[in-house]
């Protein structure tokens, strides 16, 4: 049963990945990535990582992909497909065809050698046996188990990750403002003490409604 599920999920993951790379329309690429992510969540479940699988579906396939769909709808699909570029003629197309296939194939061979050709005996087994040193099968990978690890052994990485999220949120707000970047032509007619505290181009009503006063 688990073997059947594995092959179904692996086929879904690889098909989704091929779809992301080859499809013409970026919107369809996003949908293929959703298929890929859900198949990967099934693989995570087979590896007893329940919490990570749930996070994968909710955060990745849910929130992040919605963000992608919004941006694709906003920017529009001005795209050239990989297939079209490969079918074309000229030095660019042939160089691309050769280079892409060469690099991808070399990388795949190298990764397979590195991963499967190691001296690790354990990759031919079904995973670690559960013993006293290791958690019980019922608790491995559950939210409680992950939460205890995050707040004890990996507290520092947890805090660093949260700080990184804060920085990214601030950066996203600065980048996607309506005026597009730090203002070129902002004039501060009357300087108040509050103006000195805020960075250039932020915090004004004009910025919020995107209108430039001349």
């Amino acid at each position: 049963m688990s073997a059947v599920l594995f092959f179904l999920a692996a086929a879904g993951a690889i098909t989704g990945a091929v779809g992301v790379v080859m499809l013409r329309n970026p919107f369809y690429s996003v949908l293929a990535l959703v298929v890929h992510l859900i198949s990967l969540a099934v693989l995570f479940l087979l590896l007893r990582a329940q919490f990570v699988a749930a996070v994968q579906v909710v955060v990745y396939a849910g929130a992040v992909m919605v963000l992608y769909v919004f941006v694709v709808a906003y920017v529009g699909d001005q795209d050239d497909s990989l297939g079209e570029r490969l079918r074309g003629s000229g030095p660019v197309a042939s160089g691309l065809r050769l280079g892409g296939a060469l690099v991808g194939g070399a990388l795949l061979v190298e990764l397979l050698i590195a991963l499967l050709g190691t001296g690790l005996v354990a990759i031919d087994h079904y995973g670690a046996p559960y013993s006293e040193a290791h958690p019980e099968p019922e608790t491995f990978g559950t939210p409680g188990y992950i939460g205890r690890l995050l707040l004890t052994r990996f507290l520092l990485s947890f805090e660093i990750a949260s700080f990184l999220l804060l920085i990214a949120a601030v950066g996203g707000v600065v980048l996607a403002r309506r005026r597009g970047g730090i203002g070129e032509d902002e004039q501060r007619d009357v300087l108040t003490p509050l103006d000195l505290l805020r960075p250039l181009g932020t915090g004004t009503m004009r910025e919020g409604i995107g209108r430039r006063e001349s």
């Binding site: 920017v75 991808g104 950066g171 996203g172």
Partner: protein
């Protein structure tokens, strides 16, 4: 299935993502292919976590997901900013940083 099968799937997904990153020109699709590469790495991490029977790999996979979310946030913000400046949304055309 043994752990080796999962590692093989992760290697295939990672290579496909790398091919996409170096051949596609739309920055949106380049970001999607970056997600593919990160997910391949995540699958390997979780397979190794199962192999050793402890949760360190799962924690690292969660951290990788956080980094991916940050990268999506900044990358999409940059694409929207590029689009607003009426610049071409194409990584071959955007070569002002090339010197």
């Amino acid at each position: 299935m043994t752990i080796g099968w999962y590692l093989a799937v992760s290697a295939i997904v990672f290579s496909l993502g790398a091919v996409g990153v170096i051949t596609r020109r739309n920055p949106l699709v380049v970001l999607l292919c970056l997600e593919l590469m990160l997910n391949g790495a995540n699958l390997a991490l979780i397979a190794f976590s199962r192999m050793w029977g402890n949760g360190d790999g799962q924690i690292l996979a969660l951290v990788v997901m956080t980094v991916a979310a940050c990268e999506v946030c900044i990358g999409l913000g940059m694409i929207v900013a590029i689009y607003r400046k009426r610049l071409p949304v194409d990584v071959d055309e955007l070569r002002e940083l090339q010197g």
